[in-house]
């Protein structure tokens, strides 16, 4: 039988406990068992008391007119309370790409209400006018899948006029269960067709931290799209989210610990590099300096900010189109 490994997706590969024990039956062993029991119990108790209830309201809007009438779409935070305390001022007051990053802890629960300010048009010829939120990774029941009835067989699960159902708003319920720690995308799955319009800007990230995990000086969410990075910065202290947009210039203080959350979106398969930096391939103790990442995969790593750099996609066309941004360390 193998040891169950502690689930620790951030940082080094680690084991559940120390492997060397004195021989069974000795009083030392009994003491160790008792201590371990107490540790686990207190962890459970602290875990339970920290589990928070998040009430979130998000809307969707058209943005980024290219100057010739073609628009993208984006999510915008309307309000977010954690156990009743509002944290809405962490977020941009506009619809952004990527959408608001929702930071959660294992054990939390989420109730998210989605609004549709893109269109109130009816669905004609099967073209859906309903937007949704489909999330990866966390626990949710079928009614919160964020897909159309043709996929889930029960409902058009979004806000607006779907091909078969209309909802003014739609409420999603997520359980952030133990084992769901990680960074997960959320995106539309309903607009236009059962594939959704995630490729038109309707995407964002959910960061689930294990209970009691350390913070970072800065965290960056970088989505790798088909022709540009779409990213944002999160201040580790104030939790403020900023710099939303294309190939953002990211900043860090020298020698601070920062965490990058990469998610790919669209059709391209990318090769990401942060020039001059190495990091641990997530969940291993192998150092790498580049990562292959395909749509909706995630790749989360931490580095100590040492020197100025660029983050880039080494894919032939994307590189020549200028798909890169600066990482300034001062």
């Amino acid at each position: 039988m193998q040891y169950p490994l502690s689930h620790s997706p951030y940082g080094k590969y680690s084991r559940a406990s120390n492997a060397t024990y004195p021989s069974y039956g000795s009083w030392l062993n009994q003491l160790a068992v008792a201590l371990a029991l107490i540790c686990v119990m207190s962890l459970l108790l602290t875990g339970k008391s920290n589990a928070a209830t998040h009430i979130i309201e998000m809307t969707t809007k058209e943005i980024q007119d290219d100057g010739f009438g073609s628009k993208l779409m984006a999510y915008q935070m309307k309000s977010h309370t954690i156990d009743g305390t509002p944290v809405t001022d962490r977020y941009s007051t506009e619809a952004t790409i990527p959408g608001p990053t929702i930071v959660l802890t294992e054990g939390d629960t989420v109730e998210l209400t989605l609004f549709n300010e893109i269109t109130n048009d009816h669905s004609v010829n099967g073209i859906s006018k309903q937007v949704s939120v489909h999330v990866h990774g966390v626990h949710y029941e079928l009614v919160s899948d964020g897909t159309l009835k043709v996929i889930n067989k029960i409902h058009d699960e979004g806000a607006g006029h779907g091909p078969e159902e209309y909802h003014a708003t739609y409420v999603y319920k997520w359980t952030i269960a133990p084992g769901t720690a990680g960074t997960w995308p959320y995106h539309d799955h309903n607009f236009e067709s059962h594939n959704g319009s995630e490729n038109k800007g309707l995407f964002g990230a959910v960061i689930v931290n294990p209970a009691g995990s350390p913070g970072f000086d800065k965290e960056y969410v970088l989505y790798l799209g088909d022709d540009a990075f779409w990213g944002m910065e999160i201040d580790g202290t104030s939790k403020q989210q900023s710099k939303h947009g294309v190939n953002p210039s990211l900043e860090a203080k020298k020698n601070s610990d920062v965490r990058f959350h990469l998610i790919a979106m669209g059709t391209d398969i990318h090769t990401f590099m942060l020039n001059g930096y190495q990091w641990f391939d997530p969940g291993t103790n192998i150092l790498i300096n580049k990562a292959a990442i395909g749509p909706l995969e995630k790749h989360v790593f931490t580095v100590k900010a040492k020197h100025d750099s660029h983050y880039v996609d080494k894919d032939f066309s994307n590189q020549l189109m200028g798909m890169k941004g600066t990482f300034n360390v001062h």
Partner: protein, 931 residues
């Protein structure tokens, strides 16, 4: 976890510790030695006792739909092939008997086989497989893998758990083979899932294409995801699993290009419950192409049964079984057979005069599957026409991509698929109601009518337009229907099987439709006169991309045919077998005319060639499906339209690699897919016809600004703006809309739309009458549209077989069509060159003939274009005197697409010619609008 569980957890740990201590922890040396000896012996004995010998005998078979597949000898061939489960250290011998008519192999990427040679038809080969490293491996048949020769080899560790899963509480829990309720093998190939279900007792059941998988809540289910060729990302809703070799939990996994695999175990519905949970490839283009299925988790007590997908044995023409069927098309770079049914040869051999390999027939409720297996390019798989009222139509993807497509067709009638990037690729499926006589060409519930992608609805299939589209399909996809001017005769054969259309041609509708063969459209032994060239010679050379000409040293088609304009002979053919030059489409030359720039449209290369000797200079990667190439007249920098992508590649003069790609759209917005661009004479603007977004883009040549994005085609969906011409003073831009049959005229500075001229105003699409006693100019499916260097005439090649002469209209005057000349089938490319002693010729190419058409837009040079005429033809077939770098093997001189006259006499470029070239030109030709 409850406290009791915690106790058990720790208790178990101690048991392990006890074992370990007995072996390692004892302090007595002799005990240690004895223990070690015992341990080692046990290990050896256990390996011998557990290691098995597997002899798997496989055959390779041809399925009813033409696909190839592996079978275990004596059983039905299946896709994926039989899943092979062994343990590390087992002996695995595989024999393969090839019962197909193609060479097949057996290869396992990552596991070198002692012999990987191919098996000839009828022969048998044996392979011994090294099973020393546990893992999930792809086995496949080599070249033919993509059409069904692939399967999974799973090597598990000899003892212990086979995998781990994430439990409801997050615990990573090991799982033994015996704990698994079932396993699934899912192959991701093209844009289709192919599945096998393996029950706990090892019985394997084929699930075919895009199956719906089943399980009962809390079942432990192991998935083996594998892929061959282009990469994918696999995602399953509401579940998460351990990424093997790490401690990371994921729900989406990359399968890299080439071949790849990913195995994982889940507890069905863990933490989320029952339901239909979608599984799919998360590459957006593949989602649009149909790459998804359902994982249905039933409540405890339910059957958790899988639902089989579309099968190659099912309800297709001559299919043996009564189950939903599947026809498959390979997408290729091969002239005419760009969509080739996997049983295309068999269909041609049926003796029904079907000369096309691009036609399939199946029953309602079956599916059509595409795989881009023999092409180096990106494509879309988009419907051009379908039965009126058919569901889920149009079928389309936003961008061009590598992969395939799959779609279920329920409504009877004709469906024609094309590629938005290469719009003369055609594949047709007739979904036929087996109860009625004749193959249904339209929706029987709607008088056998069809809808077109440009918004035309309820078009009767007896209409003239529908008949022309049918004729276009049967000519384009059958080289035997092409015009070979060296043979002197033209034959067009249509299939002899009756088809059901709206009524008698042309236009009448009768109740219940009419069942009759299309053979009334046959052309029998029409005379093709030998090409007679013009009496007046041209200056320099005419370079023609004979894009379909095949040569012995290459697998891919296409040559550059160089015609000497001073004597109208074919002086050189450039095939470049050394680089397998693939479908050369369009050309330009360097300022001094010495370097020829050639795009490879079904590939991702720009090729630089020594124009005088035909020698290769460099083959440069630019971007997918490069269509047109032009230089900036001021700097001689090279611009290449990446038709399959989203920008213009720039190669600075004197360099041989792309320095940057200028985007044709704002970041995050839909890729424009630019095709036949042009550059203003002053070199400041690049103008692109954007196929995917349906507009004309005007961009600053230095990339600093987008001046305009003007929608064309009067808002018709899929209007397909395809080529650009410009006045020599840049005052006006001309753009043809291929599927809208119109010419858009735009202001050259602001991009504002000035006019949309319908090229079919004089044409009645229902009964086919042409206004003006048949003289009313018309053009169907217009393509290239250059303006003569002196700004006096626009000449348009329309692939429906017409050349249109258009007066451009100086300053505020409107442009207007003046006259129409006849052109060969597949009329395509036009460019102007100097005539000796003044004036210009328009050189016109056609895809489905092998002669060059030479037009003089104004023979008496008086400014009145109504005497525009075809003044001669030149055969594009090589003669004894033609210099060649390869032997012509078939389709001689065919496939005229791009054409370029050397010297380049367009305003802006002609002024920069070396004196030696200028010597042959008149003063007016050296300065077309400034003299």
């Amino acid at each position: 976890m409850s406290i009791n569980q915690v106790n058990m957890h720790i208790g178990n740990k101690d048991n392990v510790m006890k074992k370990n201590i007995n072996i390692y922890g004892s302090k007595n040396p002799s005990t240690v030695l004895a223990a070690l000896l015992f341990f080692v012996t046990t290990l050896l004995v256990s390996s011998f006792a557990l290691a098995a010998v597997h002899t798997i005998s496989l055959t390779a078979e041809t399925l009813p739909n033409g696909q190839l597949a592996y079978a275990t000898t004596g059983n039905e061939a299946v896709i994926p092939g039989p899943a092979i489960f062994v343990k590390e250290g087992d002996t695995l011998n595989v024999t393969l008997t090839n019962n197909t008519s193609a060479q097949v192999g057996f290869t396992i990427p990552g596991l070198p086989l002692p012999s990987s040679a191919k098996v000839q038809p009828g022969s048998t080969k044996s392979y011994t497989v090294n099973t020393n490293v546990a893992g999930t491996y792809v086995y496949h048949g080599g070249d033919k893998a993509l059409i069904g020769l692939f399967g999974a080899l799973i090597i598990d560790k000899a003892t212990g758990p086979v995998d781990s899963y994430v439990n409801d509480d997050g615990a990573i829990t090991p799982v033994m083979q015996a704990d698994l309720v079932k396993q699934y093998v899912l192959f991701m190939v093209g844009s289709t899932f192919w599945g096998t279900e393996i029950a706990a007792d090892g019985i394997q059941k084929p699930l075919w294409a895009n199956p719906n998988l089943g399980a009962v809540e809390n079942d432990l289910v192991r998935f083996h995801i594998l892929s061959v060729w282009p990469g994918h990302t696999f995602h399953l809703h509401a579940h998460r699993w351990l990424k093997h070799g790490t401690t990371t939990v994921i729900d989406t996994k990359l399968l890299a290009d080439g071949s790849d695999s990913h195995s994982f175990t889940i507890k069905a519905g863990s933490g989320v419950g029952t339901g239909s949970w979608q599984y799919h490839c998360h590459l957006f283009s593949h989602m649009e192409a149909g790459m998804h299925g359902s994982f249905r988790v039933d409540p405890v007590g339910g059957d958790g049964a899988s639902v089989v997908g579309a099968s190659p044995y099912g309800r297709i023409l001559l299919g043996p079984k009564d189950e939903p069927g599947l026809v498959t098309f390979e997408v290729t770079d091969e002239p005419a057979s760009w969509f080739r049914s996997t049983r295309g040869d068999a269909i041609v051999g049926l003796g029904l005069d079907i000369k096309s390999k691009s036609l399939e027939v199946m029953s309602p409720g079956s599916s059509v599957n595409f795989v881009m297996s023999e092409t180096n390019a990106v494509h879309t798989i988009s419907t051009l026409l379908w039965p009126s009222g058919a569901q889920h139509m149009p079928f389309d993807q936003t961008n061009a991509y590598r992969g395939g497509a799959i779609v279920k067709l329920d409504t009877p009638g004709l469906y024609v698929f094309t590629c938005k990037i290469h719009p003369y690729m055609f594949g047709a499926i007739i979904v036929d109601d087996p109860e009625t006589e004749g193959l249904d060409l339209g929706n029987p519930a709607n008088e056998y009518r069809i809808d077109l992608v440009t918004g035309i609805k309820n078009l009767p299939t007896s209409s003239d337009l529908a008949v022309r589209l049918l004729r276009t399909f049967f000519v384009a996809t059958s080289p035997s229907n092409w015009q070979d001017y060296s043979s002197g005769l033209w034959n067009v054969r249509f299939p002899t099987i009756p088809v059901r259309i709206s009524g008698a041609p042309f236009g009448n509708i009768q109740a219940g439709g009419l069942a009759a063969p299309l053979t009334i459209l046959n052309v029998v032994d029409a005379t093709l006169p030998a090409p007679v060239p013009p009496s007046k010679f041209g200056v320099g050379e005419v370079l023609v991309n004979t894009q379909f000409e095949k040569t012995a040293g290459k697998t891919k088609p296409g040559t550059i045919t160089i015609v000497d304009a001073t004597n109208w002979t074919v002086k050189r053919k450039i095939a470049l077998p050394g680089i397998n030059m693939n479908n050369p489409h369009n050309m330009w030359v360097s300022r001094d005319q010495s370097v020829l720039y050639q795009t490879q449209w079904f590939d991702n290369k720009l090729t630089m060639i020594n124009r005088e000797t035909g020698a290769l200079i460099k083959n440069i990667q630019v971007g997918y499906a490069p269509s047109h190439v032009m230089t900036l007249p001021g700097t001689d920098d090279i611009t290449v339209a990446n038709n399959g992508e989203d920008g213009i590649a720039i190669i600075p003069a004197g360099s041989m690699e792309v320095s940057k790609i200028m985007p044709t759209q704002a970041q995050g917005h839909t890729s424009a897919g630019p095709h036949g661009h042009w550059i203003s004479a002053d070199g400041t603007k690049i103008i692109t016809p954007n196929i995917i977004t349906g507009d004309i883009g005007i961009y600053a040549a230095d990339g600093s600004n987008t001046h305009a994005r003007t929608t064309t085609g009067l808002g018709a969906p899929g209007a397909h703006p395809i080529a650009i011409g410009m006045m020599p003073d840049s005052s006006k831009v001309f753009a043809t809309n291929l599927l809208h049959h119109s010419l858009s005229v735009l202001d050259g500075t602001t991009g504002a739309l000035l006019q949309t001229i319908s090229l079919i105003a004089n044409y009645n699409p229902i009964d086919g009458t042409i206004a003006d006693n048949g003289e009313g100019p018309y053009g169907i499916l217009p393509i290239q549209t250059p303006v003569s260097p002196d700004g006096k005439a626009v000449v348009i090649a329309a692939t429906g077989g017409q050349i249109l002469i258009v007066k451009p209209g100086v300053s505020d005057a409107d442009a207007a069509i003046v006259t129409k000349l006849d052109c060969d089938p597949g009329c395509h490319g036009v460019n102007f060159g100097a005539k000796q002693n003044g004036g210009y010729y328009a050189y016109v190419t056609s895809k489905f003939s092998n002669r060059l058409t030479i037009v003089d837009p104004d023979p008496d040079n008086n400014g009145d274009l109504s005497d525009a005429a075809i003044v001669g033809y030149v055969s594009l077939v090589a003669t004894e005197g033609t210099a060649k770098d390869d032997t012509i093997s078939s389709l001689p001189g065919f496939g005229g697409n791009g054409v370029l006259a050397v010297p380049n006499v367009y305003n802006g470029w002609v002024q920069n010619l070396p004196d030696t070239w200028k010597a042959g030109l008149t003063d007016a030709q050296k300065n077309p609008i400034g003299h």
